[in-house]
């Protein structure tokens, strides 16, 4: 039997939607300021489905299914996040591992890192455009930057906090430096590294929306800014909700990956 309490969390959002719908229809505010949820849903659905009928001669069914504006933008944003995240992690991980292992390198690089780290990635936008022009390159640069610092800082911390007892045990069992690094330091630091990646992908997702508003002409960030030009508030809200759902999916996937990779970790005992 399903209990009433299962639905308790739904009361407030559903109630809010009903009040909003009634208020909008009653003409309490104009459709530009706050369109009714039904209009948002209709607009959202219209952008989700393909604009043209399926033509087997020119495209496959799957391609057609995703030919709507919204799927196209979602894929564009998501692939930017993934590409930028991969670049950011690809740079931060080796540098972080080296800085965590070598005190000399840490002493050399850390002051610079502390100066650069507090600058929000968004503040790099003008410079990114000067350097890379418009299009994907500045967007990827900004996303990679947003990923880079959280992953770097966490990787350094992760390596530096590795309990020396593991290092002693591994040396006692005959481990050379490479085995030590690969099978002891890296896994021991992995909870920190993964925490950094989770923060990093969250930042990447914020940055992609901003970067799309400025540098490119597709993606969810571009689309909601474009909708503003025409005062399509229903489209703006639909786009915002899509961004929210996509963010939730990314974080959920990251969290799943975390739970799997850290299934050995004490902190995850339930």
């Amino acid at each position: 039997m399903i209990r009433l309490s299962t639905f308790r969390g739904a009361f407030l959002p559903v109630g809010l939607l009903i009040v909003w719908e009634i208020a909008s229809r009653a003409g309490l505010f104009s459709a530009v300021v706050l369109p009714p949820p039904s209009a948002v849903a209709a607009r959202w659905f219209a952008s989700l489905v393909p604009a043209l009928p399926h033509d087997p001669a020119t495209q496959s069914y799957t391609a057609w299914l995703f030919s709507g504006e919204l799927p196209h933008d979602a894929v564009a944003s998501l692939s930017r996040v993934i590409a930028g995240f991969a670049i950011g992690v690809g740079l931060a991980l080796p540098i972080g591992l080296l800085m965590g292992t070598s005190d000399r390198l840490y002493g050399l690089v850390n002051p610079l890192l502390q100066i650069l780290r507090p600058i929000p990635p968004i503040a790099y936008i003008p410079l990114a455009i000067v350097w890379f022009g418009l299009g994907n390159p500045p967007a990827l640069f900004l996303i990679a930057l947003g990923t880079f610092f959280p992953v770097l800082v966490n990787t350094i911390a992760g390596v530096r906090q590795v309990d020396s007892i593991y290092v002693r045990a591994a040396r006692n069992l005959g481990a050379n430096s490479w085995t030590m690094f690969r099978r002891v330091i890296l896994p021991a630091a992995s909870p920190f590294v993964l925490a950094g990646m989770r923060i990093g992908i969250g930042t990447a997702f914020i940055v992609v929306i901003v970067a799309e508003m400025i540098a490119v002409s597709d993606g969810l960030g571009y689309r909601i800014l474009e909708a503003r030009e025409y005062m399509w508030s229903d489209k703006i809200i639909g786009g915002m909700l899509t961004i929210g759902v996509l963010g939730l999916v990314i974080d959920g996937a990251m969290s799943r990956l975390n739970d799997h990779l850290l299934r050995w970790h004490r902190g995850l005992e339930r």
Partner: protein
């Protein structure tokens, strides 16, 4: 009393017989000294300790905190070099850690990201053993320590006693001639502790390793060891070096056991009092 006297002579004889066997190696500790720090803050942890341990002997290092017993063990393990004197194993000087001196830590030091099986296999992987060969060793050692049903578990899902079994299995898999144990059962409850002591004795009897075992439990030392070395509190010097004249299995309730316990307790408590005084005056360093 005659039977124990016979055993008293038998123990070193058995030990020297196994010294030539590949399973065990002798350890020679000559004038071992260790000073931590320099100048006024220098702490003499060990001073001129000499012990010749024949292959196959079970030696307990006994004393209060700060008597240098762990320092000596770490020096044998090669983790922390001496500042004076030398340690040789099977004639070769000890310079660095190695799998020929398997160490069991009080904190287990299992790799939490590896399963029980991966932990036991770790040293075998490093040795570059063929998969089938390693599989056979893991299965046999896991069987010996009653871990066969736990191979897929992670350490966090095991009790302290089980974790320490894995730690013992991990070094036993490498078949080291020497096992070093740093208060391995110190964190366990009394019953688990006794079970593991019995297991260790059984393994020792079967595999004939040289064992150096650090403890501050007098009863544990008498229960386990062929020989007990009592160290003084700071600087750590040799206070007493005695052979345990009791046959195994040992009865902790027997008159002989308790006579020895009383004798050792008097020795250890002298040092414990020095430690307590140092602690009270704030000069104790762990």
């Amino acid at each position: 009393m005659t039977s124990t006297a016979t055993l008293r002579r038998d123990a070193p004889a058995a030990a020297s017989a196994s010294a030539s066997a590949p399973g065990a190696a002798e350890i020679a500790i000559d004038n071992a000294s260790k000073v931590f720090g320099t100048g006024e803050g220098a702490v003499v942890a060990l001073e001129d300790v000499s012990v010749a341990i024949p292959g196959g002997q079970f030696v307990c290092l006994l004393g209060p905190s700060g008597c240098g017993k762990s320092t000596l063990l770490n020096a044998i393990a090669g983790f922390s070099p001496l500042t004076g004197g030398a340690i040789r194993m099977a004639g070769r000087p000890v310079t660095e850690p190695g799998p020929d001196r398997g160490m069991v830590f009080q904190e287990y030091a299992l790799f939490p990201w590896m399963t029980v099986e991966q932990n036991i296999r770790f040293g075998l992987d490093i040795k570059g053993l063929a998969r089938g060969e390693a599989d056979a060793i893991v299965a046999r050692i896991a069987g010996t320590l009653g871990l066969s049903d736990f191979l897929g578990r992670f350490p966090k899902d095991l009790s302290g006693g089980m974790r320490q079994r894995v730690a013992i299995a991990r070094i036993l898999a490498l078949d080291p001639p020497v096992m070093l144990m740093d208060e391995p059962f110190g964190a366990l409850d009394a019953l688990t502790r006794r079970t593991l002591q019995d297991e260790l004795l059984r393994i020792w009897a079967e595999y004939r390793k040289t064992i150096v075992f650090v403890t501050h439990s007098i009863e544990e030392a008498i229960y386990l060891a062929d020989r007990i070395v009592v160290l003084t509190y700071r600087p750590g010097r040799m206070k007493r070096d005695l052979i345990v004249p009791l046959s195994r299995p040992r009865d902790t309730a027997s008159t002989e056991f308790n006579a020895l316990k009383r004798e050792l307790a008097a020795l250890v408590m002298e040092e414990q009092q020095r430690y307590t005084r140092a602690e009270m005056t704030g000069t104790a360093v762990d």
